[in-house]
Structure formats: C-alpha cells, structure tokens
Symmetry: C2
Subunit: 330 residues, 2 copies
C-alpha cells in the first residue's frame, strides 16, 4: 500500500467537501480542507461553539457487513445528534478515517451516505485525515448555539416535566435480532442504521426546554447523566413510554426493557417547566415529530437517581431496577 | 469486556481534564467534558478558530512497542504543530480513543504523556470518546488566530524568501534505523518521539511571515503544498539545509535525502518578504530556535513545483528530483 493511495482518498473527500460548500456557501467556514487547519469565522457575541466527537468502530458500533452507506450516514448522525441535544445548529465537521486498504468501492459508498446526511443537515466537511489501519471513523462536529439558552445536562429542576421525542426501542430490537442471527424487519433495521438527528427539534426546544440529552445508550442509563449533573431524581412513568410500533408483538415487560435499556434510539429526552406543555405539543405538531411527556423531575431524595413508576404511579422495587443496565454497544 | 470499563476510562480522562482546567482556567472553554458537547465561548471579532484533526494508528504512525507516554505526547504534538503552522494559539482539544482492552497501566502512561504536553501548551482536553477496538487515537485541536494575519498555504508570493525552523532529518534517521532493526541513539529517538510543536514561533511569525506549514511528510513533498496552493515555484538551496547534527556521519547526499524526504520533523517552513530578514533572525534569537533561510519563491514557470539547487545555485536534473518522494509513514 502506498501513501499515494491514501493521499488520493483525501483528494476525493476534499473534492466532494468543496463541492458541497460551493453549493451551500457558509458564513461560518472561512477555510475548508487543504491547509494545516480549517478556519471558522467568529460566531455572534451571544453564541457558543458546541463541539462533539465520536469514534465509530466495526464490531463495537456496527456489525461487520453493514453497508458502507449506512456506516457513513450513521457516523455523522450520532455526532449531529449530540448537537441536537444541546440545541445547536450545525456549522461543519471533520473526519478522521483509517482503512485497511484504499478500497474504492467501499469509499465511494461510505462517502455517499456521509454526504447525503451532510447535505441534508447543511453541515460541510471542513477537515480530515485518512490513514492506513483497522477500519475506524472519528467524526468531530461543530455547531453554534445561543449561550443563554443552550440545553445543558445540569439544568434540570425539580417540578419540571420529563419529555421524549419519537418512539423508543426499535433500534434495540434490531440489535437483539442481529445478535440472535435473525434478520431484522426493514423498519427496525432502518431505525438502527439511519437514526435521524433531531436538529430542528433541538433548536426549537431552546425556547421552551431547560436540559436535554440524546439517547444513545438507553433511556434509563442516559437519564442518569441528567439526574447526577442536575442533582435531581427523575421519575419515568412506564405506562407513558412511546414504544416503537415494531415492539407491539412483544410482552409489555420485554418492550419496556428495550425502550429503557436498548440504545441507538438517538431521540431527545428533555425537561421543561409545566407551563411549557402546550408550546411543546405545538412544536411536535409543527415538526411532525411525536413528543411525549413521560415523567417528572423531583428533588433528589438521597443520591440523585432515575426511578421507574408502575401504571399506578408507584415506584418499582430496587430489585426490579437492578435488572436494568446501560446499553452495551454490541 | 464490559461497557463499564470503558466508562471508567472516560471518567479518568475527564477527571484529569477537569483538574487541568481548574489549575489553568481558560476564558474560552465555557463547558468541558461531561455533556453532549463541549462549549467554547465566541472569539474576538478579529479572530478565527483554527481546527485540525489527525489520526494516530499503531504500525502506521508509531512502531509497536512505543512507550505509551510517547504515544500520548506525540498524538497531541502533531496536532498542535498544525496550529503552529497557521500561527494559531491553542484553545483546547478533543480525544477519541479506541483500545483493545481497558489496560490501566497503558492508559495511565498514555495520559501522562498526553497531559504533560497539554499542560505545557496550555491546551485543555474538552471532550472525548473512548471505545473498544484496535488501538487508534484521533485528536482534534482548536486554536485562535488573527484573521488578517493567519499563515495560509496559499499566501506565498514570488520574490519571498523560504525559511525553516530547527534542524531537519533527525527523526527520519530514527525511522530508518528502526526499520533496519537497529536501536536509534537517544537524540534521534527523541526527535522522532517527542517533536516540539513550534507554537511560540508560529504565533510570532504572524507579524513577519506570509505562508507556512509544518513538516510532517518531508520538506520536499510538503513544500509542494505551498507551491500548488500559491501557484508559485519554490527553490531550495541544498547547501543551506540545516541538517540535524545527528546526520553528520552520513554522506551529504544521504543526509540531504533524509532532510528532504524524511518526515516527522514537525518544524515550520515559511515564506516571508526580503524586508523581514532581520526581524526573523531576531525572533530566532529571542526564542532560542534556529531559523534558516534556505531558498526562494519564484513565479511558476509551468506547473507550480519545488526545485532543488546544487551548491552553485544550479537546478538539479529532473532525474535527480525523481528520486525524491514524499515520506511514507512506515
């Protein structure tokens, strides 16, 4: 393998990156791929730059044999989902890619999926590095957000409602089936491979919500981050969980378990004042995205924690909770 | 391997990252590790944010068996070197790390080298991701730079001098020796494993230089980037090359070849007006870093290219040039 082949890859990505920037000029990108660094123009004085990085590894984040388009799409999607969870709007991203061989067919398809979402999200590729090694994709994404309204994990307050976008558990069902050697149905596979970062909803929530995060490792484990950062208890009404319709044939307990512990949903969970209920429902209708009120923020009793309530609103036992564990990327 | 172990790694890095930020508070970092995104405050209106990303893979960028401290140091150093090459000052960096096992001893030592340089460069770790997979380190670094003076590759002008910092070829000798199964002498190994990003010099050059880049793949190949971006020819006087003293026992041709084609020097090459000569020499003296004038920028004759001159100032033949090739990371 010659250095030259990897330089060529870089050229191909750079050309597609430049084409995308030319079609969709950005006020923020002063210099894209081709120098020692990319350059972003300064943001407005009321804004902050939101930055997130995620590494995507075969066998850990996607099954061997996943279509390259889906790998490209999802590697960017999970990062954009982090922007959405802060309420930030995409400015651009960098891509560091290591590949065992300069496989042109893989690369073209990978780039197709990646740029499909980059175009959709108006998020240009502004820098990168390509090298020889085991398949590994590291994306770092940049967004801008109003500094006074940014949705941080430490901003949940007792008395607020807990909400979630979309439906839960569909992607986890696909993972469970793939593990068992079964072929997931198309809708379930789609949930796993093509998560839609909730960028428009995240940005709209800036005006009505306080804290938020995106669901990558499962609702129960992820809400623990908000509970600890905000020093509150979070109660989930299990009867209110918006279960993915794909789970309808499962027993309720099994479906709830996938919704609570399954990962890869990339929906947003957020907390908001009771007064914001009508506004949030309106936002959901406007955007054609289901929003469901599923619980409450309470003062922390002892250690901040997440508590599931049964259909009568009674907390489930500690034993029951101990069966829940955070999602382990397969 | 449980997810829990990797979550633990993240906690360890997050704690060290927070400690460093507390010891060295930054006006730019509004939120470090622990949320969906890190948040950077807006820069001054005259500034741009410089961003660079590099992936570091065992067997491609470092030999198997390299000390973890050295891997940690160099993974950040090569990225900081990109900031230096734009004249940018560090603001922070993100780290995405994949590891086969949560090896505590490796991690502690890796973090020691990484944070040693982070502290030295006042560049806090502001975000990250840790996952299971073949060893791979992706660093993305952020810096700020005066938008009117930033050192871009496309800013070289015919008539300018070509300069280089430090000494060349020392790291390449170590690579050559390691390939041959020999043990490099300590100074040569140090050049390879502990490159010093020229941040102070890069920042100082903003006021006197026009274009710059850092030398990662060898002087000859790297200068080709400036030649093409600026549409100029670049002449190198071989007799003026500041060869590393480690090369003194080699025949001149062999030493020149290492200096021209060997990589991993991470010195800065830059172009500046003739009027700036005295100022540049003064900068070198102030900073205790050798600066050497090694050539000239010329109008491009046909295709922009880099041309080596012999000791009489006569261009070497095309055949001679064809023996030069860009550095191939081993």
């Amino acid at each position: 393998m010659f250095m030259g082949e990897f330089a060529l890859i870089q050229t191909v990505f750079a050309q597609r990156a430049r084409a995308l920037l030319e079609e969709n000029p950005s006020a923020f990108v002063a210099l894209g791929i081709g120098d020692d660094c990319a350059l972003l123009n300064g943001l407005g004085s009321h804004e902050q730059l939101a930055i997130s990085t995620d590494m995507f590894v075969e066998g850990t984040h996607f099954f061997a044999g996943t279509a390259p388009q889906d790998i490209g799409f999802k590697a960017l999607a999970v990062n954009l989902s982090d922007l959405a969870a802060m309420g930030a709007s995409p400015v651009g991203f960098t891509l560091a890619l290591s590949l065992p061989t300069a496989n042109q067919s893989f690369l073209t398809q990978f780039a197709d999926g990646l740029f499909e979402l980059a175009q959709q999200a108006q998020c240009p590729l502004i820098g990168g590095d390509t090298t020889r090694g085991p398949l590994n994709i590291a994306v770092t994404v940049f967004g801008r957000v109003d500094r006074t309204r940014v949705l941080r994990r430490d901003a949940a307050k007792a008395g607020q409602d807990l909400w979630v976008t979309g439906h839960l558990g569909g992607a986890a069902l696909a993972v469970q089936q793939l593990y068992a050697g079964e072929l997931p149905a198309a809708p379930s596979k789609q949930r796993l491979l093509r998560p839609q970062p909730r960028l428009a909803m995240g940005a709209a929530l800036l005006s009505v919500a306080n804290s938020a995060l995106d669901l990558s490792d499962g609702l129960y484990g992820d809400l623990g981050h908000i509970a600890r950062a905000s020093q509150v208890d979070i109660e989930i009404d299990l009867a209110l969980l918006p279960l993915d319709e794909i789970l309808s044939s499962l027993p309720t307990d099994a479906a709830n378990h996938l919704a609570l512990c399954g990962g890869d949903d990339y929906e947003l969970a957020f907390t908001a004042d009771v007064q914001a209920r009508d506004a949030i429902v309106s936002l959901g209708l406007q955007q054609g995205l289901r929003v469901t009120r599923i619980g409450h923020v309470r003062p922390a009793k002892i250690e901040p924690r997440v508590i599931c309530l049964d259909s009568s609103g009674v907390p489930l036992s500690l034993e029951w909770h101990s069966t829940l564990s955070a999602y382990e990327h397969f």
